[in-house]
Subunit: 199 residues, 2 copies
């Protein structure tokens, strides 16, 4: 690449998550070859989004308003709080169109390896919400990983004494999953939590 | 995604080559969560690059100057023109640091399937360069695909009568390639163009 502008752009793109040097080169070329149709609209869109979108002071979601659309929606059940690691998890649960409660975004999970400690997450804020906001149930919707479950246990401990019910997502066979390919841990969890069909 | 700004940004990112809906969501979140460090610098860099970078009127390369740094470099051998499909190929050849000639970017290859016809490529421009600019050799560095080789044949036909030598890249076993994994076509080409070691 002869132009330092292009190589700098390629380097910046390659630093984004999930984009390697090869895709960064391809992206930069695509953008520069489609300036009117792609690059300028994308620049404007990024600038507008960066300016308009803010973090919800109640749950930590990103939205144009604060509190966010979910927290300020009167149809949402505010006594039900779903605790998730990050915004992608919130989006995933919203896509189910099943959940009508509100959220609390932790901002990560505890991790000795990555040096994430309780103060790095919004756990104190969650305890305040549990104590004050008429919350009746807190769903710990954290990943079924060691770090996720450690975090869930830690939060359950911290909430001891708060007048709330604490629940977690069911563990078991994924829908469409074949038993033969399941790991033992999932199979054990599915057996332990088996549900009655009849009799 | 509750915010239309975020969903619009995700949709635009997902339209870029090599980025699916999942990576687009991840990218948008990464950008919005790192506005100062990543998103604003990237916006500025994209705007600056879009403004500064232009297409070389001689070879079709992208650069800050026109003619581009390669075409205007007096150390480059202007009697040697390497014809490539696109700028990524130019970059790949430049990375070898072996080639000291100049380039001609076709802007694609002929393709009946994709409806790419000779007029869509810069073939006429190449013929003019071959006739006027003291060009002695034209290297057709096109992909060893059906479309690439069709295009090479077509260009060689069009250049019949021009006072230039026309060459193409060698075909054979890729360096580090295992014979066992090679396709028959490559093996046949490598056998036909075998070179003498001794005797």
């Amino acid at each position: 690449m002869s132009s330092p502008f292009i190589s700098e752009l390629v380097r910046s793109l390659a630093r984004l998550p999930g984009i390697g040097p090869r895709s960064a080169r391809r992206l930069a070329l695509h953008l520069l070859s489609n300036r009117e149709k792609t690059m300028f609209p994308l620049i404007q869109q990024m600038a507008r989004t960066a300016e308009k979108v803010t973090t919800c002071s109640v749950c930590g979601n990103l939205d144009e308003m604060d509190p966010c659309e979910i927290c300020s929606n009167p149809k949402r059940n505010r006594s039900l709080v779903c605790v998730v690691q990050g915004i992608p998890d919130l989006w995933a649960i919203e896509r189910t169109r099943l959940y009508d409660g509100v959220y609390h975004i932790l901002g990560g999970v505890l991790s000795a390896l990555d040096g994430v400690r309780p103060d790095d997450l919004s756990i104190g804020e969650l305890c305040r919400r549990a104590a004050n906001d008429g919350v009746e149930e807190i769903i710990l919707a954290l990943s079924a990983t060691v770090d996720g479950q450690t975090t869930a246990h830690y939060i359950a401990d911290r909430l001891t004494g708060a007048p709330v019910r604490i629940t977690r997502l069911a563990q078991g066979v994924p829908v469409g999953g074949e038993l033969d390919y399941l790991d033992d841990g999932t199979l054990i969890a599915a057996l332990r939590s088996r549900s009655r069909i009849s009799g």
